[in-house]
């Protein structure tokens, strides 16, 4: 009741098949790297990125330095709204990771900003305070996703004073709840 041994040809046949497979994968890695290695299709925003190493640092993953090669501070200054521009300027200055808010390889139609910070005050807050960035009044954690803390500075104090008691912590989120006409 013993199993039969493997035929002698099994090992060389498998070795040759494995060699062919490796050669095919090597060729495919040069011609179609995304199909062989990527966990999903690139988004439409990065569809023109031709090579993996344009965004990935070998054995370090996607690095902020690679992102900044295209998404420089200068580009944010030219193409973004002030709030977005100033927020990213600080992220760049503090060398925070882009991956806290952005991701990729989720498909051509997927959004790449996954942990986008929602501004509950709306654009009204920038007009009211004369600032252009969330970080003028808020301190964000290292991963920028955590709930921000309110700073104690001139902008915040001025806003509280302006409210004559109506502006206080926990009641500031939705400006237009009271400022109905945006005034």
């Amino acid at each position: 009741m013993r199993f039969l041994p493997l035929p002698r040809t099994a090992v060389p046949v498998v070795a040759v098949a494995t060699g062919v497979l490796l050669a095919w994968l090597g060729w495919g890695s040069i011609r179609h790297p995304e199909a062989l290695w990527a966990p999903g299709d690139l988004s439409r925003y990065h569809a023109d990125v031709a090579r993996c190493v344009h965004c990935h640092e070998p054995f370090q993953g996607p690095s902020p330095a690679k992102c900044l090669a295209c998404h420089s501070e200068k580009r944010f200054a030219v193409r973004s709204k002030p709030a977005v521009r100033d927020f990213h300027r600080e992220v760049i200055a503090q060398q925070k990771t882009c991956l806290a808010c952005h991701t990729e390889h989720r498909g051509a139609l997927a959004q790449i900003t996954t942990n986008a910070m929602f501004n509950p005050h709306g654009e009204f807050i920038f007009r009211a305070t004369g600032t252009s960035s969330c970080s003028a009044c808020h301190e964000f954690g290292a991963d920028v996703v955590a709930r921000p803390t309110l700073l104690d500075n001139d902008f915040v104090r001025h806003l509280f004073d302006e409210g004559e008691g109506a502006h206080h912590r926990g009641r500031m989120a939705n400006c237009v709840q009271c400022h109905v006409s945006g005034q």
Partner: protein
């Protein structure tokens, strides 16, 4: 329905339930997440644990070949069987139904072939072989000639031969599976970071 066929259907059903269960559990773990479970830190840990468990399966064939004069390493064979089922299931949990890159897909397919052939070998072929030998022995004890016994056992023997294919698949495909696993791990570390 013969005993062997019934065993085959039971094994196929259990394998299906286990794989579907692991995929559904992964889907549950991926719910309300931006990234699928396999791309999270916990998913990576699951992959490493699965691979570590799978590596235990190699102790048995190594022990068996290194010293052929020693008794058959029954304990390590049991480890081989358990690790050969638990490890791949952890990898299914790690991967879920998120299949895109060809290298990990091929690694999954190779792993599936190796694991399934092993399960078929132990749970079905072994039974088919034992049934064949027992029936042959009974015929011979009843005074039936060798040729006549072989003729009467033709159906059972052909079924045993069909399930014996697992032997030709199981060990050789393991080499291809390990090559693909190494490529997948290197690729994941190269593009995702150490």
């Amino acid at each position: 329905m013969t005993l062997v066929v019934r065993r085959f259907l039971i094994v196929a059903g259990l394998v299906l339930i286990a794989v579907v269960g692991a995929v559904l559990f992964e889907a549950f773990l991926s719910m309300e997440r931006v990234l699928p479970f396999g791309h999270t830190r916990q998913g990576h840990v699951t992959g490493w644990v699965g691979l570590s468990v799978i590596l235990f399966v190699f102790v048995y064939p190594i022990r068996k070949r290194v010293d052929r004069n020693r008794t058959w390493p029954r304990g390590w064979f049991q480890v081989h069987m358990v690790a050969g089922v638990v490890g791949p299931l952890l990898i299914v949990l790690h991967a879920g139904a998120h299949l895109h890159a060809l290298v990990p897909i091929l690694a999954m397919v190779a792993m599936g072939i190796v694991a399934l052939s092993g399960i078929i070998g132990q749970a079905v072929h072994y039974l088919a072989l034992r049934t064949l030998n027992e029936e042959r022995r009974q015929f011979l004890q009843q005074g039936v000639s060798q040729d006549e016994a072989e003729a009467r056992l033709h159906d059972v023997a052909s079924r045993e031969e069909a399930f014996r294919v697992w032997q030709l698949i199981h060990a050789p495909m393991t080499l291809m599976f390990m090559v693909l696993v190494v490529l997948h791990v290197i690729g994941a570390l190269y593009f995702g970071g150490l």
